[in-house]
């Protein structure tokens, strides 16, 4: 498992999700803190491509050996891609939460929502 890290180029949501902006789309994932709290992840249940997600609402589930947890959307939009590689290797969420362990890509419907997210410093200081 990777060491704790919170990259500066990401935006963070209080439910321990991150978003990486790229024009009008964003990649979502869960933070190092989230995967560490969940423990060994054994299954990712992705949403369907084409479905819509709403900021602060659950859009997918991750299952660890301890629990099944909702994953919250940090921003609103439409799912354009899901990380199918997680089907066979869900542990990538533990090993590389900001890289191979990304969850979905979303075309944003309201880019102004990014104002409500935290930067790495604010998120890190919010952690217990």
């Amino acid at each position: 498992m990777a060491d704790a890290s919170y990259p500066d180029d990401l935006l963070y949501h209080t439910e321990h999700d991150w978003a990486r902006l790229d024009g009008d789309t964003a990649t979502f994932g869960v933070t190092w803190y989230a995967q560490d709290s969940l423990g060994e992840i054994v299954f990712f249940d992705p949403p369907e491509v084409g479905s819509t997600v709403t900021k602060d609402e659950p859009y997918a589930e991750v299952e660890s050996v301890k629990a099944v947890s909702d994953v919250y959307a940090p921003l609103s939009g439409e799912i354009v891609e899901v990380n199918t590689g997680l089907g066979d290797a869900p542990e990538a969420i533990n090993d590389d939460p900001y890289g191979e362990g990304w969850l979905v890509k979303v075309r944003l419907s309201d880019p102004s929502e990014t104002d409500e997210l935290m930067d790495a410093a604010a998120y890190t200081s919010s952690l217990p």
């Binding site: 249940d45 299952e63 301890k66 629990a67 099944v68």
Partner: protein
């Protein structure tokens, strides 16, 4: 005051005095709104001495007629198959008979191994990759399959064949009402689900489709066609099967069925006044995380030895709370043990032989009954172990005449229909006696009608 209630008159007076109320009536008057009170004594007979109660219960018990006392062709979901004594021997072992559900399940390796072997048998029987450790009984397995569909796609309509057992339809309707799903019933045509009405009823709002095979009227459904018609829609295809017939029927997993369920009683459990029994539940891998109940899994311990665990527990109520796949974390483990013991006793060849025997005897019985004056087949579909006929006489009166002769010809259906079940316990001579008795009863009833006319 009843000797079983530990409140004496003195106790009562002290308690009432303590809270400052003069009598029980005054307490209730003050606390329970008049609108919800009965306002009179319960309509119950007075108490009886113990000896009289015993005599009364003896009299009631003597009215029971078991399948040992008459020649019974009752079925409709529960069947009088022979239960070999080895099953009683296993089920009565105290390790299986007496424990409550283990809260540290891995301490009970034997119990988990039985569940694992049971699941393996159900998977082999259904050609589906995942089975749980059983649910309460057949109808609740159907209803649980509906809830699986609700969790999987959340669509608001269930399309249900009229050939699904009425008890299963009723249980499903009751459960579905709770989460707002509506049932659309598809009628039968010549004894099987009307294929045009079935296809027409399925749309993008359909969360699941339900059929039974063989259906309630004994007819073998075209499971592949029914499943195929639903595939495009993305609805979960749910088939309720009679496990005994899976030695000769194409298994659900090879017909495009996503979730197969059924009543477990015919597998090594006696009729026992209707229960307890068990329900079996198997699914494709796509739905394994939506399945209700417990699943035993095989694993290796730290030293590499084979062992068993309860697996995928993250779906369950004690971990997932309100988002669990079911509020039941229970298996009918003892009854399912009877099921796996029975399947093991039969073996791979035995269940095929049993199915072939039932096919032959049922065909013989159907021919024998339909050859009688005043009896015709309700449908002409292939049957395996049960069939339906229509009588040209009042069915209730025909049944009463037959039962006076010690023969119970089966379950009465609407419009003087009769559902007749065959098991290996009913010999050809028994079937000849059935035909003779029903023939005489129908003739007598038609004569009686003629005489009145």
């Amino acid at each position: 005051m009843s000797r079983y209630t530990a409140v004496t008159e003195t106790d009562l007076k002290e308690m009432l005095a303590e809270i400052g109320v003069a009598s029980l009536d005054e307490l209730f008057d003050a606390q329970v709104p008049a609108g919800v009170r009965l306002g009179r004594e319960l309509d119950l007979p007075p108490g009886l001495p113990e000896q009289d109660v015993y005599a009364h219960l003896r009299e009631l018990a003597a009215r029971n007629v078991s399948v040992e006392d008459e020649l019974s062709f009752l079925g409709a979901g529960m069947y009088d198959h022979y239960v070999p004594s080895l099953i009683d021997m296993l089920m009565e072992r105290s390790e299986f008979l007496t424990p409550y559900t283990p809260y540290q399940p891995e301490i009970s390796q034997g119990g988990l191994q039985v569940m694992f072997e049971y699941q393996t048998a159900i998977c082999e029987l259904t050609a589906l990759p995942v089975s749980n450790a059983s649910v309460y009984e057949g109808p609740s397995a159907v209803a649980a399959a509906g809830y699986l569909a609700k969790l999987a796609n959340g669509r608001p309509r269930f399309v249900v064949s009229a050939g699904l057992h009425p008890h299963a339809r009723e249980t499903l309707r009751t459960m579905a009402h709770g989460y707002g799903a509506e049932l659309v019933e598809v009628p039968l045509r010549d004894g099987v689900t009307d294929p045009d009405a079935w296809a027409g009823a399925i749309d993008e709002r359909t969360g699941a489709v339900f059929f039974q095979n063989p259906n309630f009227y004994g007819a073998v459904e075209d499971a592949e066609a029914l499943a195929g018609a639903a595939k495009e829609s993305g609805a979960v295809v749910i088939g309720s099967y009679d496990a005994i017939t899976l030695g000769v029927l194409k298994p659900p997993g090879e017909c495009g069925v996503d979730v197969a369920v059924g009543e477990g009683q015919p597998l090594g459990n006696r009729l026992d006044f209707g229960g307890p029994s068990f329900g079996w539940f198997a699914a494709t891998e796509a739905y394994q995380r939506r399945m209700p109940g417990r699943i035993a899994g095989e694993t290796r311990d730290v030293d590499g030895r084979r062992g068993f665990v309860l697996t995928l527990q993250t779906r369950e109520q004690h971990i997932r709370r309100e988002k669990a796949t079911s509020n039941i974390c229970t298996a009918q483990a003892l009854n399912a043990l009877g099921g796996v013991a029975y399947l093991t006793w039969l073996g791979r060849a035995g269940i095929v032989e049993l199915g072939e025997l039932l096919l032959a005897r049922t065909a013989y019985a159907r021919d024998a009954l339909c050859a009688l004056d005043g009896v015709e087949a309700l449908h002409t579909q292939p049957v395996i172990r049960e069939f339906a006929v229509r009588l040209d006489a009042p069915v209730a009166r025909v049944l009463a005449r037959c039962r006076e002769q010690g023969v119970n010809p089966g379950l009465p259906l609407d419009d003087d229909g009769l559902l007749v079940a065959i098991t290996e316990r009913r010999t050809r001579a028994d079937i000849d006696r059935l035909a003779e008795t029903v023939g005489a009863a129908v003739a007598a009833e038609r004569e009686a009608v003629g005489a009145r006319a």
